[in-house]
Point group: C2
Chain length 172, copies 2
């Protein structure tokens, strides 16, 4: 898996946007409440973590600071993701669609949970509810990454695959 | 990569929904126009293909038929995806979020394009526009799959990895 090495957050932030970037923000299509849906996706394995709403100001703050800011419709206020939980989302890339009325924000999620329930993704339930549903492959990759990630942090020699999985017998 | 072997489409469809399933549809949170955003994601590699809107009726038809139906806000009509293009989306799984006000539809996309522009994903532009942006890993997997997919269709012995990539010299 190729890991993107650069991110919006790696630049000198916070920063002042260029006039062309400001103009770009104005060219997006916001709804009658001045909002645009933002789909937040894990940049590594593609898991859709959450969907929230941005207005022009929150999108500008996202670009300026390199982390996600949303607009809370219930509180009618800007909402910096992770402010209380620490589960900040560092932005790797922002995409917009063919109608310029929806965003995909590719992020590096700090912590294991993007959802306020503690789940990694807000989309943890299926319709219809089923036990033993086949796990979509995109999620399988998420789990593989969760297994491999700690091994990457072990100092010293590169661990063997056996070190990444639990085993019943102790190596001799 | 583990590939989900079952899908909603593999059951005997079209089918009549169970009373519990009907009740489930009523428990979702639709907005003031009776709509809920539906994020359509490739079930294999996690690419977000498009975002569209569903109302209760289009979601019910999606469950009944095993393919995506949306609500066109501009035409104020039900819209079966792929009706004219043939680019049908077979539904593998439907997820809903912690607030019950957004859906992720995991699909098998027929054809190479989910977008009316001919692009695989509607989210083919970045903000700010940049040449040579680092490619998010989720997209890298999409490209790997595009390379590997044709090889899976070759009848006969399982192809070697070399058969999947172009090579300058002809095998002896």
């Amino acid at each position: 898996m190729v890991v993107a090495s650069a991110s919006l957050a790696s630049a000198n932030l916070p920063r002042t946007l260029l006039p062309a970037e400001i103009a770009h923000l104005d060219n997006l299509s916001y709804n009658e409440q001045g909002l645009i849906p933002a789909i937040v996706q894990d940049y590594l394995d593609g898991t859709v973590l959450m969907m929230a709403w941005m207005n022009r100001e929150s999108l500008q703050k996202t670009l300026e600071t390199g982390r996600t800011w949303f607009w809370s419709r219930s509180r009618q206020a800007l909402w910096p993701k992770g402010e209380t939980s620490g589960h900040v989302q560092w932005v790797k890339q922002i995409r917009y669609d063919c109608d310029s009325d929806a965003l995909v924000i590719l992020v590096e999620q700090v912590g294991e949970a993007a959802c306020h329930t503690g789940a990694r993704s807000c989309f943890f339930r299926t319709l219809p509810e089923k036990e033993g549903d086949p796990m979509p492959a995109a999620d399988t990759l998420s789990h593989v990454f969760a297994v491999v990630k700690p091994a990457r942090r072990i100092p010293g020699p590169i661990p063997t695959p056996a070190a990444c999985w639990p085993r019943e017998t102790t190596p001799s």
